[in-house]
């Protein structure tokens, strides 16, 4: 009955530790789940990356095929042409045709490079990603094995702690009850001793029996014996409690140390094990992608620079020489017309006679004046068409071909599209420009014709 009074508080402290323990159990489970989730996220990411590269690989292949087709189509067309035979023969092409061929070569080059890109995605990047996935899964498995073992040990300790604590409480309870019993015995013994003591001295009572006195002495002795027994029991329990408490305190230390070790050292270690090589392998897979892309860039730029050189090499003078060379008979001046003397006529010079002299002189002076005025007119016209030509050339030498601004990526990406319509395409100004150009051109030709028309015959 009264022992319940002692047990209630025990239960409280016990259940408290018990609760802390089971809560730990729950947390430890959580830790495993975290590692699993982390790995699941990784595997998912790696899966997405693989799908991504597989799809991009397809896109690159298709792009490459289309470019190849494009180049082939026009290559075939040009192969047949006269120019191409010429090219095969002496590599000496009209500079625009040269640009055209290099343009087709560039497309071919791009086609090849994008095929290579696609190939690298499929056979290098993706397999790297697959391997990282496998590694992550394997590492998770091993890490979970370890963490499970560690947690097992930890729980064992916690349970032990609970046990030793219970033992300590139990012995303490018994010590308490033993002490109470001891005190009870001492109280009784004291009362008995008191009786026999008074029966010995104060006021002699006639007629008290010897048996009665003997009885009392027995009772006192019994009481003493019982007290002895209870005292022994009590100190025995006290010693047990002491031992139990010591055990409890030691286990408490050990547990706290282990818990500390687990959280501060082991757990981070295990997370590291789970991460082992993940970042560096992923980095290498992505660097492979970057290396491929950047190499494609470099190759493409190299090709464009060749083409750029050819464009700078566009040369009207050289091309005109080549044209004249292609049609030699058409453009080389004919032999001078020679004087065809009639048979037996010995005179081959302009000759005179007195009656002609006057007429010849007059004609000479006329020619001289005509020539003089022509010279002046010609100079005038020359100036005019020179100026006009410069204007025309300035018109066709405008540096209006920079479109880099179309490729700026402002946050509001819409601005990209719009910017295309700037520059050359600014329709109104373009129309005006072209009208202006043709007008100047017309004037230029008129002036030229005027000059051609000059001749000693005229006027």
């Amino acid at each position: 009955a009264f022992t319940d009074l002692f047990y209630k508080p025990d239960d409280e402290t016990l259940t408290q530790t018990l609760f802390q323990t089971s809560e730990q159990k729950h947390i430890l489970k959580n830790q495993q789940r975290c590692l699993e989730q982390q790995t699941e996220m990784r595997v998912q990411l790696l899966q997405d990356l693989q799908d991504f590269f597989r799809k991009k690989s397809e896109i690159e292949t298709e792009y490459s095929r289309n470019l190849e087709k494009l180049a082939e189509r026009f290559m075939a067309k040009t192969r047949s042409t006269k120019d191409h035979q010429q090219y095969k023969k002496d590599q000496n092409l009209l500079s625009p045709v040269n640009c055209w061929y290099l343009l087709l070569n560039q497309v071919r080059r791009e086609s090849k490079d994008h095929a290579t890109l696609s190939d690298l995605y499929l056979n290098n990047v993706i397999s790297r990603l697959t391997h990282i996935s496998e590694d992550s899964a394997r590492l998770l498995k091993r890490s979970k094995e370890i963490i499970f073992q560690l947690q097992e040990d930890l729980m064992k300790l916690l349970n032990e702690l609970y046990t030793v604590m219970k033992t300590y409480h139990m012995y303490h309870v018994e010590t308490i009850s033993a002490e109470t019993k001891l005190r009870e015995a001492e109280r009784q013994e004291g009362r008995v001793k008191g009786l026999s003591g008074t029966g010995g001295g104060v006021e002699p009572v006639f007629g008290l029996r010897i048996e009665e006195r003997h009885q009392r002495r027995n009772a006192a002795r019994k009481m003493e014996k019982m007290r002895e027994k209870r005292k022994a029991k009590y100190s025995e329990n006290k010693l047990k409690t002491l031992k139990a408490r010591n055990e409890y305190l030691l286990t408490l230390e050990a547990t706290n140390a282990s818990v500390f070790k687990y959280y501060i050292h082991d757990l981070p270690d295990i997370i590291d094990c789970c991460d082992l090589g993940y970042h560096s392998s992923l980095s290498r897979a992505l660097r492979t992608y970057l290396s491929a892309e950047l190499s494609l860039e470099a190759s493409r730029r190299a090709g464009l620079e060749v083409l750029e050189g050819a464009v700078e090499g566009l040369d009207p003078a050289r091309d005109r020489q080549r044209l004249l060379g292609l049609y030699p008979t058409a453009f080389c001046p004919p032999l001078r017309f020679s004087f065809q003397a009639h048979m037996g006529d010995a005179v081959t010079q302009i000759a005179s006679q007195p009656q002609l002299q006057a007429e010849l002189t007059l004609r000479l002076t006329q020619l001289q004046t005509r020539l003089a005025s022509l010279k002046i007119e010609n100079e005038e016209v020359k100036k005019t068409w020179g100026a006009t030509l410069t204007t025309l050339q300035d018109m066709t030498v405008l540096e209006d071909f920079d479109v880099s601004h179309s490729f700026t990526h402002s946050p509001s990406s819409e601005s990209v599209k719009s910017s295309v319509s700037d520059g050359y395409l600014n329709k109104p100004s373009l129309a005006k420009k072209r009208a202006n150009q043709q007008e100047t051109e017309l004037f230029y030709f008129t002036v030229r014709e005027l000059q051609y028309s000059f001749s000693l015959g005229g006027a």
Copy 2:
């Protein structure tokens, strides 16, 4: 009859000039044809270029669409994920996820750039080429008008030359015949004069009639008159011939001068007119293409550099911190387990009693020795797994991601494909490498477990 004798050679020289003239006519026609052919070639080339860019524009558009679809597909997928919400919230992503987002951004950027490229081909480059075509056709037309006029003038001169030459020959023929007739008259006159002279003095003949003498004197006078007439005719013709020859010589000079001017000055000028602005306009069209392509390169590279930065930023430590942050309850150490004193128990320390002393002391020394040996073992193991870890990390830090060699364009373009299978993909070595890695990994984990298993409880 005998005049035929004189006319034959004339015809010869005449037809020779006539031939030279008509041959010129043929050559001049050729020149026009050359200019036409040249322009036809240009227009054809420009047409090819336009078709080329139209087709390439289609290809770029399709490529751009596919890339956009690719990016969209995965963007949509990630938008839903927990990580993305996190990203929206604090921009603090796991470094691999950050790379993944930038990868998708890069694809988006490429998609936009190739769309811009396509747009520039269609609306800028192609219209430039169209304009050059129009210009070339117009310039050819005008040039042909000029050349036609010049050739007309030239032919007029040649015909005039032919005419004046014929005139000279004709007068010369007549001079010759006039001279012959003159000589004939002189011969007859002489004979007549001889007769009348003898009739005057030698040997007087009786009976000669006065009428006869009178007749002879008349004949002589008639003869003299005729000679006079023929002499006049002769010198008149001689003068005419002189004039005609002079005219012929002058025209000859003029013709040669004009032919020279035409071939040396006018013809090249006209060819230049035909070329007017062709090369510079074509150059600008091609430079527009180059500017577009190079800007696309620059933009792509810029994007890749951002991505490169993210890859360099792959950081296991930071990511682990973030993981721990995501699950705070799971990984922070619990409160220390505290001593739960049983009710009324005042002792909270390890206590002793004479009869326990020995036992406690023994236990202490045991623990101390165990601890010492554990320390040593632990050091050993630490060294081992440290070394193993280094080996593992070295394995996953191999710089095997450079694939630039796959993009070298050797003349034998086949070498491109083959080179892809080098490096990471060299299957046998790869398998070996991975086996080796997993073996080391296994050993690493075993050593770790061994270390974890250490505890004061054990042994």
